[in-house]
Symmetry: C2
């Protein structure tokens, strides 16, 4: 068998093209591998199942948690949220708007994908809460701050994708955060 | 066949007892019906599957949306959120803390239930957003307000269940809302 350079990327591209064209539920693994010019055996070396093609590369909860832990000590939680969202936006989303929009459309059209997506958001909250606890926040405060961060991220993502002349995703996260005016909230830190 | 008074309630009680005792995944429909003294045929008249016993009666998204639409015109969104959460808390949760705690423990212990629960939260946001749009909010504002309402509800629910000397769930939703200080936010209405 010929060695397949970037087999994972080829499978992902083939899968997303087929999901967008004919729907996620209607697409089979053999169709994906045929389009990618690879075997189903190769497919299952990279992905446990079809749904993993959509969500398998998504390590945002872990990435966000590591950024929260690495933020300067003493920085107010709302400013930690701001800087972490900017970093996630700039490194994972800006420059990838078209692919992100295609991915959101595929997810929105299938209830089993919406369900997994919703669980990913819950996982993000759990990971971010743990990271804020590590920064010294009481668990209930850390939960509320983590929920706010996940809310801003998801609302900003949809707003950014809906813009006709899009600014950067990092500007979108800032804009949502600003509209919440959290200066007096639990997220504003010890001086609140 | 003898008519079974409150067959649905008997099946629910039997199911929750077994889920709590031996785990959701380990419990079969025949075990549930045997405990309830009913047939599997009766079970499937009330529930499409085992997961429906956990989530089948949950019409909170529709209930919350109808309350949002019925709130006085001109009431600031954040006050609509406050009154709707109080009403949902008082009518659906207060007085049912033990059952609610048992339900949350069962959900938290099983990833397929966590996933469905997360989707229910997404459905709540969709229903509440549509209701706020009907009240005249622009869709992006309605989305943000709906997300805030769902956030307060879920954070308050867990806080209420964690309290050793619990106040009412309605007080818990008020407390979370107060900690967010949304007076200057998009949710504060036209005078913001």
């Amino acid at each position: 068998m010929r060695w397949a350079p970037d087999a994972r990327g080829r499978l992902e591209r083939a899968a997303f093209e087929l999901f967008a064209q004919q729907g996620y539920a209607e697409t089979t693994v053999p169709q994906i591998t045929a389009r990618a010019g690879l075997t189903t055996r190769t497919f299952f070396r990279y992905f446990a199942d079809k749904r993993e093609v959509i969500f398998g590369g998504d390590e945002i909860p872990e990435f966000a948690a590591s950024l929260i832990r690495a933020a300067p000590p003493g920085l107010a939680p709302v400013e930690v949220v701001r800087s972490v969202l900017r970093e996630v936006a700039a490194t994972r989303f800006d420059g990838h708007r078209e692919e992100t929009a295609a991915w959101r459309r595929i997810v929105a059209a299938d209830d089993s994908l919406r369900e997994r997506d919703a669980l990913k958001r819950a996982d993000l909250v759990v990971a971010a809460q743990a990271a804020f606890v590590d920064r010294g926040e009481a668990p209930p405060d850390a939960r509320l701050i983590a929920e706010l961060g996940a809310l801003v991220f998801h609302v900003a993502l949809d707003a950014w994708l809906a813009q006709s002349s899009p600014a950067s995703m990092a500007e979108a996260t800032d804009a949502v955060l600003d509209r919440l005016h959290l200066e007096r909230s639990i997220a504003a830190g010890p001086s609140r």
